[in-house]
Symmetry: C2
Subunit: 300 residues, 2 copies
């Protein structure tokens, strides 16, 4: 049933997560032979616990325009595969060097570094393969548009560029504008792809697409501030990650720049602002508005 | 001018390389700011010396069907970006741990490991971005087909799967059939994409596509055997790589399985066989036939 018919946001999020998990399981490679360890590593990282927030945004934006759940599930899986690939590579010793992810050993700890690098690489390819496949949309122009938007969102001038900026910022003092740009690239770009995917699938005009992009932009920053707050205040039990890592690594975060109090109020302000962009959709966007509240109030 | 009009194979190869280099230069990101090191690393690896053999195959197959050089140059660049990304990641300490590539420090030696991982990741995204872009082909169905074919060729059941098999084979005894399968995935799949790209761009029927695929299959193996022979017999001066690395790493190669003599004759046999698949193209395929001779007789 459409996501909008669930009684609560939590139910809708849970439904999106379960649908995505089933779809990812079908799309991931499986098998014996000498490459089996690669398949296992991809599955370990992609099918582990996770909120599936980005997939939820794909479903929620698809629901706005009556896009089929089957198409949304494929795009949602592609987004989650990319997110997982970025986490696998971010966790590597040469990058953030994190032994834990989502409460379990990270990919290179569970397997080894070489396998983790390859699993991330293969998850990226798989995401593009899914987007370009005829099952995702009958119109090849839509498939090509999805590939283009995803590639821009996650490439050198998107997610990976943001990750480079993040590594370069270690131990430096950044202004609020710089860290905002960094996070727009590092986490905002894939979030924006997720929130606008429904409009691409529905071939809408520019106006709803721009509204969703503006929503995603504000929400992405709110999300990142909330993430920084969790890193500063959270526990491993709640977040499944090593707490205080950002500070220990000398990383610039919204918390280090704004302080706890201002970071908290800024996140709330951005979430409010995000919702205002959705006014043109009326009550159909209630789910996306609840998502904004969830993002800034989550405890894990 | 079309590749077929060059007097010698060496001239045609050189022309394809220069055209690809110029196109890659235009397509690679450039700029200042905290992510500049990422752009530099992508440029360092992609624009360094190299034969551009895979781009050549894209141009040569495009020439068979009268596909525009502009379209071929874009696809050739995408192929070379993917090839470079795979070399950057293969050279990492956790993988083949190679300090030299194409006669220069490898990416993680010139920059650092984190930058090398990210540069490879971003080159992969860039390749898909190029294939899906309207400038590559006016028909979005062709663009989607290119993305699909590339994603399959380089994913878990293609190039990356082959790399996993290669790592898993270290120190083991493999039969000729297993190493053939390994190499079909690791190097053959991207080679096959390159050789068939012209047919995809020209929207040919199945028959020429299958012929090019069969050619690429035999040629890819011949190429890999020649590569193993170079590793066993070559010098750093000639190949730009550390020689004898495969043996030192306990890697199974065609040379370790077949011995030098049989490896040499097998490569020549495969190159001959590859050319036979091209008979339906008549003299138009002369360039591809010369490429087969070059591949097995090269000294670097």
């Amino acid at each position: 049933m459409p996501l909008s018919e669930f009684a609560t946001f939590a139910d809708a999020l849970d439904h999106a997560a379960q649908t995505t998990n089933r779809q990812m399981d079908r799309l991931l490679p499986n098998g014996d032979g000498p490459e089996a360890q690669l398949f296992e590593a991809m599955r370990w990282s992609a099918l582990g616990p996770g909120k599936r927030l980005r997939p939820f945004f794909v479903f929620a934006s698809a629901t706005l325009f009556g896009v089929s759940a089957a198409a949304a599930a494929r795009v949602a899986s592609a987004v989650e595969f990319v997110h997982c690939y970025s986490l696998i590579h971010d966790d590597l010793p040469a990058m953030d060097d994190d032994d834990f992810r989502r409460g379990r050993p990270s990919c290179h700890k569970r397997f080894d570094e070489a396998t983790a690098i390859l699993a991330g690489d293969a998850l990226q390819s798989l995401a593009f393969e899914i987007l370009a496949h005829a099952e995702t949309h009958g119109d090849p122009a839509v498939r090509a548009a999805l590939v283009t938007a995803m590639a821009k969102a996650i490439g050198a001038q998107g997610m990976v560029g943001g990750q480079m900026m993040d590594l370069q910022s270690e131990g430096k003092v950044l202004e609020s504008a710089s860290i905002t740009r960094l996070q727009r690239l590092k986490t905002g770009a894939l979030m924006a792809f997720s929130c606008t995917a429904g409009a691409v699938l529905a071939k809408t005009g520019e106006s709803p697409r721009h509204a969703l992009h503006a929503y995603a932009h504000d929400l992405g920053l709110a999300f990142q501030i909330a993430d920084d707050l969790l890193d500063a205040e959270g526990t491993r039990e709640a977040t499944g990650k090593t707490p205080g890592k950002d500070q220990a690594a000398g990383k610039v975060t919204f918390v280090s720049v704004l302080g706890l109090e201002r970071a908290r109020s800024q996140a709330a302000l951005l979430a409010d602002q995000a919702c205002k962009h959705l006014d043109l959709f009326g009550t159909k966007a209630d789910l996306l508005k609840q998502a904004a509240t969830f993002v800034v109030s989550r405890r894990s």
